[in-house]
Every structure is written in C-alpha cells, then in structure tokens.
C-alpha cells in the first residue's frame, strides 16, 4: 500500500470511478481511505466500509498501476477485516429480498464463485466471495436479486439509457443497442475510441460489467423501445471468470428461439466474443452488425413514433 505514489493511473480505468467521477470511488481513493484507517486519521464507518465493497473486481486498477500496488489483494484483505469488525456492508455485492425469495436455490446453484448459500431458511451472500458479476440477476424468477449499487450497470439504469437513446427525437438514426462487457471489449474500445473511432449515431454502447449481468428482459425492452437489433460483446467463453459468456449465449438462444416463432429474424440479437485489447475486432463486428440489421429494417413498424 505504501508504494502507491498517488499518480492516478488507476482511476481512469476503474468502472466505478468512471461512473461517478468522484475520487472516493476510484482505486486511489480506496487506498487513501484505507491508509487513513490504518494511520488512525479516519474512524472506520459503514460509509467507508461500503466504499471499499463497491468494486467490480475487474482488476484493471492493478494492471494499470505504475507502482505495482497489488490493489486486489489490498482490497480483499481490507474487506475481510471490515467484515470481521462487524460492518454492515452491501457495496456492489448481490443481495436477496428474503420476503419474496421462493428458495428455489437456482441462484445458489449457478453462482460460479459459490457466493450464495442457504442458511437458516434464507439465501445469504458471502460478501467476500461475491465478485459482483451480476450473473445471478437474471436467474431469479422472483426478481428478488439486486446489486446494491450498480454504477450504471443495473437493469433499471440500463433501461432508462435504452429508452433515452432510442426515443431521442434529435437522433433519427438510432437503431441498435450494443452491450459491452466491462472486462474485455469495453476497455480496449475505450483505449482506442478517442482518436481512432467515431462513435456511431446508430447505436448506443452500454457497459454491463460482465455480460452475464445482462437481463433477458433488458434485451426485450430494447426491442419494445424500437431497437432494430441488439449486439452483445462478451469475453471468449474460456476467459470469462464468471461463466457470463456461456450464460448470455444460452439466455439469448432462449429469446431468439421465440423470435423465430414470431417471424422476427434471429440475427437481430447477436453475440460476439471480443478478447481483451482487440478494439479493431469490435469496430469490425459492430460495423458488420449495423449493416446487417440496416438491411433487415425495423423489427416491426412503430406505431406512433414521431
């Protein structure tokens, strides 16, 4: 921790910081908080504990660190201490609404990190094991699973961005939503976007953290709002730590099977595996996708669109 030179290289890579632009949400901010706790200058509190638990475990801070601070290890150790000290934290971990949970155990079975278990009649999340991937959000038939703070990736946040983009009267070209995994495709894209690639007016890029966090309902909502197509960029299956890529493929197959029965072309929902650091593959894929759905036209004639 002491080797952090406060350069701030980490924070521009952190999805949490990027969402709020507040120092306290950046990896450097977390390190400073921990430093304050250790030196006794700060009193530990639920607020600070939650801040330390607000992290998508993507590890991009550690990779970007100029000084080799093992941020992931530092944060994990701090989290364990905070739990031991009895702090009541949620952070970005997944939570269960016990009042409506049907105890079906589907979430327990599916979590790749074995973070969910059934204890004393309730589903509980081990907040140290939970990697905040959000893969469990879509599995719950009771809609009883939430992620405390989503930093732009929670279903309701995505829904409102979808509505805004597809119904913007100033952008008649809007026709598609591109969901990007915050681990693989988006970082590469981000690194390239400012100088080499002009963001298209035809699609909106929404970052989902892990692609497994994307709810089937959010994809359907995009179509209800008039999307011609949806492109989902995920990690190659063997590179996704959370099993999200395989899940999103299976979930989208479930939807495209319905689409076929409705005479809606199934290639309106496409999934592309984009490995880290390959922005060209993304731009090529997106261009091809937009061309394809452009030739298909709208999924249905919109009634009452001005």
């Amino acid at each position: 921790m002491n080797s952090c030179i406060r350069c701030g290289y980490c924070y521009e890579h952190c999805p949490v910081f990027k969402s709020t632009k507040w120092e306290i949400d950046s990896p450097r901010g977390k390190l400073i908080l921990l430093y304050g706790l250790l030196s006794g200058e700060l009193e530990p509190s639920d607020y600070i504990a939650n801040k330390i638990f607000e992290c998508f475990h993507c590890g991009r801070c550690q990779k970007a660190c100029a000084s080799g601070v093992p941020t992931l290890e530092v944060f994990d150790a701090a989290r364990a201490d905070l739990i031991d000290a009895g702090f009541n934290v949620v952070g970005t971990t997944s939570q269960t609404n016990h009042d409506i949970c049907a105890r079906c155990l589907n979430c327990v079975r599916m979590c790749k990190h074995e973070a969910r278990s059934f204890v004393d009649g309730k589903i509980i999340t081990d907040r140290l094991k939970c990697r905040s991937c959000g893969s469990c959000l879509d599995i719950c038939s009771e809609k009883g699973i939430t992620i405390g703070t989503g930093y732009g990736t929670n279903p309701d946040e995505l829904s409102s961005k979808i509505k805004k983009f597809l119904n913007n009267p100033e952008n008649p070209d809007a026709k598609a939503i591109v969901f990007m995994c915050g681990w693989s495709s988006y970082p590469g894209f981000q690194a390239s976007v400012y100088d080499k690639f002009e963001i298209s007016r035809e699609y909106e890029i929404l970052v989902t953290a892990c692609s497994g966090r994307l709810k089937s309902q959010t994809v359907l909502e995009s179509f209800e709002e008039g999307a011609w197509g949806v492109l989902i960029c995920c990690c190659p299956e063997n590179e996704c730590d959370h099993g999200g890529s395989a899940r999103v493929k299976a979930r989208m197959k479930y939807l495209t099977d319905f689409f076929e029965k409705m005479d809606i072309e199934k290639n309106r929902i496409q999934i592309a595996e984009i490995p880290q650091g390959n922005p060209k593959l993304f731009t090529d894929t997106a261009t091809k996708f937009i061309k394809e759905i452009g030739s298909l036209g709208p999924a249905f004639e919109r009634v009452g669109k001005c």
Binding site: C104, D138, S141, E142, F258, F300, V303
Partner: protein
C-alpha cells in the same frame, strides 16, 4: 414440485387473437421454483406478446400480476377484482391454478401459458425430472424409495420386462431402467428380499382412472 414448461408462443398468441386487454398472471408457487411462471417469466412473456403484437400491427394492453398461489381461492381475489376490466387472462400457473382461476373469475376467458408436465425434482441445475405420477397408492416402501410406476416406462410392478438392456430402458436408451435402479438400491440397503414380494394388480381407481380425486379433512374444517 409440479413442473411445467412454457407452451409454444404461437399457441399462446393464437388464444388471444381476438383479445386486446390481457392479464398475465404468474404464480409464486411451484412454477416459480421451476422457473416457468414466476415474475420474471411474466415479464418476458408480456414483452414477447407486446413485440409480437407490434409485429402484427396490434397493440395489446397488458397487465402483469403474480399471485402467491393460484391454487388457493383466497389468493385469487385481487386477480378477480382486476379482471373486470380485461378481455382475457393468461395464467402462468400449472393446470390446477389455471382451472381455479377459470372457476372463480366469472365470464372472462382464461388461457394456459404452460403445459403442466409432471411432479418431479431438480436433478442438477437447469434440469428437472419426473418422480411421481400421483397414483394414489404409494409403492415406495417396497422398492427402495424408487417409484416403479414413474421410473419404469411401463409402470410394471413386479420386476423388469425383457427390454431392460445394460441398465437402460428399451423405450428410450437414455432412460435408466427403473427396475434396474430399484434392484441396485434394494441390494445397497440390504433389502433385496422385498423383491420377492408379489405386488397384487394395482387398484387404479385410486389413481386417475377412478375419476377426479378429492381429499376431505374434517379436522381442518
């Protein structure tokens, strides 16, 4: 639990062809636990119907609700009240739930969204399998806890037929032979002698063949 699967979307759409205002009603019971008729599935079906409608140039007005259980009359009250303003109800409960709704809701069309398939268990994540046919005269005490009525494709009660091959059933080579499972289990628990018990022909009147069944418990009245 009761396990059900969603019907083909085309079928569901054909039921509501001449309806405009529709309620989609889920159930927090068995069909939530088998991920077929809970709140999430209600949302998805509603979106699919809406998209299919727009594709055909038709606007549906859809109301979503999920009831505690559709097989208990008290839990239906909210739905019955709401139904007055709608043309049809699509129930995402099992067949029992759909029927109780239809019985109680008055002169409104009620359609099933699911095919109720069996009483079963979770074998592994995402896989359910049949275990009980509700025969009304449980034989599990004799068969090591493995049901011959359900697990034997032919519901034989006194050992396998000649089609049991290397532990699998001739009806479907991927299905384990129920009687092989029973014999293996009886051996494992040291009860192979019960295999010699001749089971009398079953009284199928206790099963569906005796007409619809009821249970009456005076002590609960």
């Amino acid at each position: 639990m009761v396990v059900a699967e969603q019907k083909p979307l085309k079928d569901i759409l054909s039921y509501i062809d001449d309806s405009k205002r529709i309620i989609i009603a889920g159930c927090h019971g068995c069909v939530t636990v088998c991920s077929t008729g809970g709140q999430k599935e209600v949302d998805i079906l509603a979106s699919l119907i809406e998209i299919a409608g727009k594709k055909q140039g038709k606007e549906y007005e859809i109301k979503k609700i999920t009831l505690q259980r559709q097989c208990d009359p008290e839990f239906l009250e909210e739905l019955i009240e709401m139904a007055k303003d709608y043309d049809a109800i699509i129930s995402m409960a099992c067949g029992a739930g759909v029927q109780l709704v239809a019985e109680r809701v008055g002169p409104i069309k009620v359609f099933p969204a699911l095919n109720t398939t069996f009483i079963g268990v979770v074998e592994t994540k995402g896989e359910w399998a049949e275990r009980c046919q509700a025969c009304g005269d449980c034989k599990l005490y004799l068969t090591g806890g493995i049901c011959p009525v359900t697990r034997c494709s032919k519901s034989l009660l006194n050992g396998p037929c000649g089609g049991s091959h290397e532990g699998f059933c001739e009806v479907d080579p991927k299905t384990p032979c129920g009687w092989q499972l029973i014999v293996d289990r009886l051996k494992a628990i040291g009860c192979l002698h019960t295999y010699a018990t001749i089971v009398e022909p079953a009284d199928w009147s206790k099963s569906r063949d005796g007409g619809p069944r009821r249970m009456i418990r005076e002590d609960l009245k």
